[in-house]
Symmetry: C2
Subunit: 350 residues, 2 copies
């Protein structure tokens, strides 16, 4: 049966001070009333019942997940004792899923993605599930690029789909430079690597055995050990931190890609947030007690009771909240990460 | 004898949120440890004893003046019941000075000017005093312009000084456009109208009689009425609000100009504040718990305990304090005035 596994342990710092180590972006209502983790659960629950939706998060973030009240049963919330990137996390979920459902098929979804067209998304999931039923192997989701984005990895897919509707993956490509990204988009055979996957739990565990044998061996032991067991943290921590892409997908020859033509965003920074947020005629997104005067194409969000005035600027991001104040040219706002680090280092000096 | 009369009743809003209606700029330590009113008192006290230094302020600002502890005797602190621009204010001071010293000479100094070279300034004051002793009339201070500033009025002076060293004033000029300002600076005969003056109290009162007879008549009555008298506020308020420039100087034919070649600033806005503030190699002035990344030629001042990060911007002004947050392109920061108004209007809605 199909299970949705939502990976919610990330700790994005590129949206500082909206997101912080104590409040990662998946718990924030970035574009509306609900957090993007809740929206991800809702999206999955439109075609998977709640008792087959799983959330994997870190011990630290457990209270944040519980506070949301997503409706996901508590026995489906898995805790990583510490972050170890996606391979150990997906390995843990695979082991636990198989304990419950020997023939489980997993839809792996990062918690921090926004997808508006749920029907188109569900149709892709169906194609992926049918592909794994018919041909086995691993399925990844490639998003048709809407611009030559240099912030994402790309998937080079075969020109034509196979009988299942999925495409053979020719190669995975690292984040490209601008010229390469433009070539990719023009060619029509390159897709954004979304980090969403479909496979059977048994299949991915077999792939761990062949590509990451040490991880596989530890995961086998973890299978016999409850989350509450004292050895659990030690075992989990002994797995090398590695992504599922580097650890398995890039070495596998059984990877297919389902093509997604829907709006998709990983809300990876303020440029992306500005792109997907509601804007007025001047291209400004404004929240809070804010005065704009001669400002265009800007994202200004304040939760502060004090007045915030922004004057004579274009393409800037301004965020004021209880954790800090960010004022950035939006095209350079990836450096908010530095501010997040600096802020943590100086936390004691306030 | 020479008395210094410091006009401290202004309520600048162009430095919002540094300055506010409740905390005008003359009470702020804009460029160091001391407020600019204190620095103005100190500058005057280097050649006028404290008991001949006077401060004219509004009823509202009285506690701010008292809190500074300038050393100016309390009987020398005159209160305007309300702001009525400079003519009534100078008129009031003239009346009170003459009560104390029939032959008083007044050096009129706005409280919010910065002058670094006290010796050069004092030498100009000496020239002005000698001119009034020898020839009577009114003396204004013209500052040799260091740039084609469009934010100041100009004084067109005769090409050569008279025997006293002072120049005959040909005309007063309103704030010019950029092309005219450039012509003014090139000509060498145009000077910034600083708003500093020297004259005898008796002379300026005679000028009130001829140029502003209604004011003169009210001032005569005020002369017989103490500050504590119930009629004082009513009388003062009945004078039309008008500047000494418009009301008297521009109609007078006995105005001379002393030329000032010293650094002078009225700290009229953030462009000026940035110009006169200490800056690092990147041209940034930075105060507070602030991270700059790829920022140049900017003024960033925070008194907030939260971290403030500014990224990828040039020529911006950022001020964070308990009254508000300003983020402005520095060349457009005169619009902080709008923010100040908006902030006051919305004060109840916080």
């Amino acid at each position: 049966m199909l299970h949705a596994v939502i990976l919610a342990g990330g700790g994005g710092t590129r949206l500082w001070p909206l997101s912080t180590a104590a409040r990662p972006k998946q718990y924030l209502p970035l574009t509306g009333q609900k957090s993007i983790l809740e929206m991800t659960v809702e999206r999955a629950s439109s075609f998977v019942p709640l008792d087959r939706i799983w959330i994997v998060t870190t011990q630290e973030q457990m209270p944040l997940v519980e506070a949301l009240g997503t409706g996901v049963p508590s026995e489906n919330i898995l805790r990583e004792p510490m972050g170890r990137n996606t391979a150990p996390c997906i390995g843990l979920a695979s082991v636990r899923l198989r304990e419950r459902d020997q023939d489980a098929t997993m839809l792996v979804l990062p918690a921090d993605h926004l997808i508006r067209d749920v029907d188109a998304f569900q149709s892709c999931v169906n194609t992926a599930v049918e592909h794994t039923e018919a041909e086995g192997g691993l399925v990844t989701f490639g998003i048709t690029p809407s611009r030559p984005e240099t912030g994402y990895g790309y998937i080079h897919a075969a020109a034509e789909p196979g009988p299942s509707g999925a495409y053979t993956v020719v190669a995975f490509k690292e984040k490209p430079d601008a010229a390469t990204a433009l070539q990719f988009v023009k060619s029509g055979d390159y897709f954004w690597n979304s980090g969403m996957f479909v496979w059977k739990a048994a299949t991915i565990l077999d792939m761990f055995a062949s590509c990451l044998p040490t991880h596989h061996s530890i995961l086998s032991t973890i299978g016999a050990v409850g989350d509450g067991d004292a050895r659990f943290a030690e075992l989990y921590g002994s797995m090398e931190a590695i992504s599922i892409d580097y650890g398995i997908l890039e070495h596998a020859d059984n990877v297919a890609m389902v093509r997604g033509d829907f709006d998709w965003s990983d809300v990876g920074g303020f440029e992306e947030l500005q792109r997907i947020s509601e804007k007025d005629e001047e291209g400004n997104h404004v929240e809070g007690h804010v005065l704009l005067e001669g400002v265009t194409d800007s994202y200004v969000k304040s939760s502060d009771p004090r007045p915030v005035a922004v004057i004579g600027l274009e393409g800037v991001t301004v965020v004021v909240n209880e954790d800090g104040i960010l004022i950035s040219r939006t095209t350079e706002s990836q450096k908010a990460k530095l501010a997040s680090q600096w802020s943590n280092e100086n936390a004691g000096k306030k």
